[in-house]
Assembly symmetry: C2
């Protein structure tokens, strides 16, 4: 990495990898509102300090037992002529890539300032292939488009599909983490780390020069950040390697976050769960209790006389069915959505007081189910859909969390479906980013784990607040019931969305024909059953759902055995094969055990995976249980064709395993 | 009052008083966003129901012991052709004026709707004289302008003076309560009642036709109300009389609010208080503790090593001085502003986390002062300046209120100086109106009394939540130290601002030359000392401050005796003389006692007040202590010239009392 000032005093940096250009000379700076000079140019270098850091830390949960944080640091202190302002640009150079951020030290001439735009450039060295999502202030739930950078503009409109809340902003604007591949074999990933009280960054492409520039999410007045010195921007990260597997193994994002701030983490535990959820997603049942009441006023509307609609999913009897099945098969929790009043008109009205997070529907016996779950050795998982009404959620947060603790819940799935309240604000602006963080920190006070859906994409904050055990923040499995996702979606997510933290992808769908759950839903899950199993290994998360119905698992109990067996927490992770959009093969060793799990996912093209078991302990013999696509399997036409076989393997073994459009999966245990 | 539909089905109303037109035929309706039909026309009358109501209720505190709520009601149910929507317009006709509101009953074709503008007209019958403030989304703190309606446009610009937050919106937009006087001797007042979860109403004048139309405060996106049926608008009120005194005695605003919702009101008590406040307002001392720290981060900034600035007002020693003086003279409380960390940079930066409402400055010994105050028989009054950062306040509200209860505080002065956060929102929009109400209701849960400054103007909600014992919401005494207010200001406020509820006007300034407190402040308090005394009677409030310094009171202990003696709560109030902008004379009988207090304020013109004591009990003899302007008194040149004399009066007595540009004041006790 090279830092330099241009002749006009504009800071620049450039990045190479083994002699190949990764980031060509790119300018750095911030443009302020109503401030001509801003922090753009006229700088001189007051000081340039270097340092080296090398340490190891153990995450509370993770893909590996120990993470090494090893970098060389360059902190350039810049002095601006005329304004006498000081700006520090801090670079951290890892073997795996570069992190840089702006630091605003305490000073007389720069205390409060308003960011009009951050002007961090990432000048690409060519017309790379990118795996991109349309830049959007409110949605990350699109399918990825794979194209050359120069093609983004023409493909933009087609990349944007309907969403409950969406605000695209530019014909060449894309989201981070942005994964790219160059013609000369480099893999480049641009994202951010430690997004705290700052606006979420997008990238806008100058597609004449192939230069990305940061594009922050604005607030209701179009401003992009209210700042106070001393303070910093988040880190901007550029991962680079000539081996795609190293992008997946990269731990820069966590390393650029602050260490764990939660002293007692004994209550933070990986969770395998089932839930009353897929039946509402498919349209088989409803979140709402009644069709009698088109207008609900929390605390006023009387549900006691309303006629049940007969489709409500979160009934006591139905939840018991899930508890029975989940406890029988060793799950930790059961999520129940639609348990609380308000779902009859929860969406699309900018409704302020939309839920109270406290009051169950008449047919949901919360104390009874709480005790029943306890007697069966598992816990209910709370659901707090906010409908984007962030003030209302904050007003109820303490009581809602206390209510959880009083009723033996220790994990909550939050949701932000629809437009944000206050109106004019976006899912990814500074104001709302501040809200998500507030919820995570407040939850930590109550010893509650958070799995936030529709929240801003994660940026490694789970290092600092490991109670943030999951996030959606991308197109999850639910879209398979909303018309489907691309078959190669899961070969991209680990290179993009999961760079910032685990995803609650909710895999485990065994019945791909959604019309069997709901005759009026013709969606098809674009995956083989075996591919669904592989996701528990390839899509790392300490929170894993078995999302399908108990009755669907009952039809394939031999395959379901894998979901029962698969671990949630790991000592080691070995990325064996990886190519974004095409395939990922990963082997992971269960935490504190000698059992290995290995997963492979493909895109649309069938493929033979070549696996060497040389990661196994020398001299030991393992039995590998191989859950694979059957010969005749195909994600569209024959997704449930799988085979299960057991073979003996050692660290000398090799395996060639064919997988259909979709998948391959193995389990080995000594 | 006459209701009619125009030929196109637009609802209209008209109002006369003893044959004189008050409101000429005026249209009613609401314009929706993206809804051509809205609720504007094409109505037919489905039903017209009349009713009569007559009841009495006792306020928790007030000007009178019992309030009669007596009206005839007309509820017109309108059906809209084409949309099949139902709208009810409810009219309540009091002897004292008219209340009307829109009601949106539960129905299939109107559930959620967005108000683009409320279109309630008030067509004036002439070019009346008005006592008006510039319409503004953020400030009510202007001096009143008295002019013909036709002159508003030309006088608008001059009526707008600098404020910490201000957003005027129209050259003919004015605020309510709007007081008017007609050429044929009518007094007309337009305001609103029960402003709950709705946007505050202004009036915009068509000055060709002299027709006012409602103009609601918009949100960040320009929308003026997010509504859900069933629901209602606030009441729109038109008070009318041929006697200005009856406007002051009018209780319609309270009567149109819901009855008290607080069951146990034993903790709600009138409060007479002093405070560490005027010294900061004048610039004699500071809210802030240090000048070392231009940038404060709550929870991070270390105050322990900062050098005190030597001007901090809320020091333990200074507060003790106030406690000593206040307790010696029988006060109930001492307000302390600037007690909590954050004041070094609290204003003007859209700072989110500006205060925590919990952490005292190092030189403010909160537990010690709490105990000291208790030992002296009074309580400290809490101060929560929010700097307009409403989310931050809500986040801290529970803890801040619990902290108050833990430390023997039972009243809080809240403040909203500066622009509202979230940015793009206004002091008087629906979002922020909802916030003020949230605070009042939350305070009631904690048995805390609220005195909100810079909040939306009150609309009688104190009937429903009598813990709302005060509001500023107008230009208070502080402006006398910011350059001064017009001498007739206090002869208008009771006709305007106080229509909706009591004002924390903070009277009692004895030293009018502000430069004596702060040599660099050349402001002059435009009032005589005797006028300041009168305000305790003419400006009704259950919360009254003696705002000046103890040392200034010590110089005039004979006059200060009146402040010590004056009651805060009343069984009867008799408006003896009144003319907006010129004079007000009122006699009030102390609650549960036979003592009367009588106050008179004048505008700039000296005047002789003619008082008949016929309200006194027949056959009884009273001693009247008369605090009056001395002959040579003048608000500018000789404000401290007063006389005190005692005379015997009975219910046959009459008094001619001259007052200077300012004042006259009496006290009678049997």
């Amino acid at each position: 990495m090279a830092f330099a000032l241009k002749t006009d005093g504009t800071p620049t940096y450039a990045l190479t990898f083994n002699g190949k250009a990764v980031i060509k000379t790119s300018t750095l700076g911030l443009e302020f509102k109503n401030d001509e000079k801003s922090l753009l140019n006229d700088f001189t270098i007051a000081k340039a300090e270097t340092a080296t850091h090398d340490s190891n830390w153990e995450p509370v949960w993770g893909e590996v037992k120990t993470i090494r944080n090893h970098y060389n640091e360059l902190a350039v202190t810049l002095l601006q002529k005329g304004t006498d302002r000081t700006l520090i640009i801090r670079f951290r150079m890892f073997d795996e890539g570069l992190g840089l951020r702006y630091e605003f030290p305490s000073q007389k001439n720069l205390i409060y300032f308003v960011i009009k735009e951050e002007r961090t450039q990432f000048a690409m060295a060519g017309d790379h292939t990118a795996f991109w999502l349309a830049g959007d202030y409110d949605s990350q739930e699109y399918d990825y488009t794979t194209s050359r950078l120069s093609e983004i503009r023409n493909l933009m409109q087609g990349s944007i599909t309907d969403n409950a809340s969406q605000t695209p902003f530019s014909p060449t604007g894309v989201q981070t983490a942005l994964m790219m591949k160059t013609e000369d074999g480099l893999y480049i990933n641009i994202h951010e780390a430690a997004l705290i009280n700052y606006s979420c960054m997008h990238l806008n492409l100058d597609d004449t020069n192939m230069v990305f520039q940061s594009w922050l999410t604005p607030d209701a007045e179009g401003d992009k950040g209210y700042m106070q010195a001393p303070g910093t921007s988040p880190w901007r990260t550029v991962m680079v390697s000539d081996d795609a597997r190293e992008i997946l193994a990269n731990k820069m994002t966590y390393n650029l976050n602050e260490p764990n701030k939660i002293e007692d983490t004994s209550w933070i535990k990986p969770v395998k769960y089932m839930g009353v959820w897929w039946e509402m997603i498919t349209g088989k049942s409803s979140w709402s209790y009644t069709n009698d009441l088109p207008s609900i006023q929390i605390g006023i509307t009387d549900y006691s006389t309303a006629k049940p609609n007969g489709t409500h999913g979160a009934t006591t009897a139905n939840v018991k069915k899930y508890i029975d099945f989940a406890s029988q098969h060793g799950f930790d929790g059961v999520l129940v959505e639609g348990w609380n009043i308000g779902w009859e008109d929860w969406f699309g009205h900018h409704k302020d007081y939309v839920f109270d997070f406290l009051t169950p529907y008449p047919d949901f016996d919360l104390p009874g189910l709480r005790d029943y779950a306890k007697s069966k050795g598992l816990k209910l998982i709370m659901h707090h859909e906010t409908s984007g009404s962030t003030r209302n959620y904050e007003r109820h947060l303490d009581k809602a969390f206390q209510f959880m603790k009083d009723n033996n819940y220790d994990a909550v799935k939050t949701g932000y479906v629809g437009n944000i309240l206050p109106k004019g604000y976006y899912h990814y602006d500074q104001w709302t980013v501040n809200h998500y963080q507030y919820v995570v920190e407040k939850a930590a006070e109550y010893k509650i784990m958070v799995n936030a859906h529709e929240a801003v994409r994660p940026t490694g904050i789970a290092r600092t607040y490991p109670n943030m055990i999951g996030n959606e923040s991308a197109r999850g499995t639910e879209f398979q019931a909303f018309g489907g996702s691309k078959p190669n979606h899961v070969t991209i997510l680990p290179f993009t969305r999961q760079i910032g933290g685990p995803m609650d992808y909710t895999p485990g769908i065994f019945e791909m024909d959604i019309s069997k759950a709901n005759p009026s839903n013709s969606s098809h899950v674009n995956s083989t059953l075996a591919n669904q199993l592989a996701l528990y290994v390839t899509m790392y998360s300490p929170l894993q759902m078995a999302a399908d119905f108990p009755e669907n698992y009952s039809r394939f109990m031999d395959a379901f055995q894998f979901i029962k067996d698969v671990a949630l927490d790991w000592d080691e992770s070995k990325y064996l094969e990886a190519e974004p959009g095409q395939y990922i093969t990963v082997a992971r060793k269960e935490k504190g055990k000698s059992t290995w799990f290995l997963g492979n996912v493909n895109g649309e093209t069938p493929r033979i995976s070549n696996v060497s078991f040389d990661f196994l302990e020398q001299g030991k013999t393992y039995i590998a249980t191989i859950y694979a696509d059957a010969k005749e399997a195909h994600y569209k036409t024959n997704p449930q064709a799988y085979s299960i076989r057991k073979v003996v393997v050692t660290n000398k073994s090799k395996l060639q395993q064919w997988s259909a459009s979709g998948y391959d999966q193995y389990r080995g245990s000594r």
